[in-house]
Point group: C2
Chain length 120, copies 2
Amino acid sequence: MLTGNESAELVVLSLLSEGASYGYQLTKDAAARSEGHLRLTPGVLYPLLRQLENEGLITSSWDTVRAEDAEDAGEGRKRKWYRLSPKGKRRLGQRVAAYESLRRVIDAFVGVRPREEGTR
Amino acid sequence: MLTGNESAELVVLSLLSEGASYGYQLTKDAAARSEGHLRLTPGVLYPLLRQLENEGLITSSWDTVRAEDAEDAGEGRKRKWYRLSPKGKRRLGQRVAAYESLRRVIDAFVGVRPREEGTR
DNA sequence: GACGGATATATCGCTGACCGATATATTGGC
DNA sequence: GCCAATATATCGGTCAGCGATATATCCGTC
């Protein structure tokens, strides 16, 4: 359920609105917040992050997490941090509004209790 | 927004739970209930009705609407009435439950107010 | 010192869903 | 007689979703 790109964008923008984060962390946060219902798989997440960056909604920067012993000049593990841009904040607002609108529309249907049998 | 098959199914089953109806009527009802936000176009609606019938969620029957002067033996306009089957009622229940679950998940994200700037 | 599981980022391309465009026919108002 | 509205129906090109896959580091433990 809910691996769709539409909701994924909303969720990623929302998480980033709470502070900078990186891919793997977003995956874990999404799962935790939704009690396991939302799986932000690599195949969904990374193309999405790339697209969001291309649209100027988020910015990114690399950060190297070096191992305990720094004697080795090797590169160490890399992390790519993402931050919400002002444009991204605006987009998030739009997406939230769109979601709330959708919510109202669907509620107009599911909120109705069934009548008894028969033709209209 | 919301021309997707998923929501369309929910909406059609929901409308039929209120009484039998036919394609064109469903189109109009959906638009009216959602204040124009939901457009159940022919390309969406008829394949969906067919599929729902194949799955045994709805049943159908033809009905001929004859013109005022019945002297003509011609066929007149046809209407195909759809009714929700017991299986369809169960499915509707499931879909509503799924929607409410999704709603809760998304709300867990959009309900949160942003913190001030900075890394987590 | 090497194995495995977790951490971390990233791309590719198959499948199949979506729905705009299109077709057909009747009815009613002007 | 014509046009808009009513009414049902199919088709197939486009495009997106995402499972599968690749690569590399880190760390505990045996």
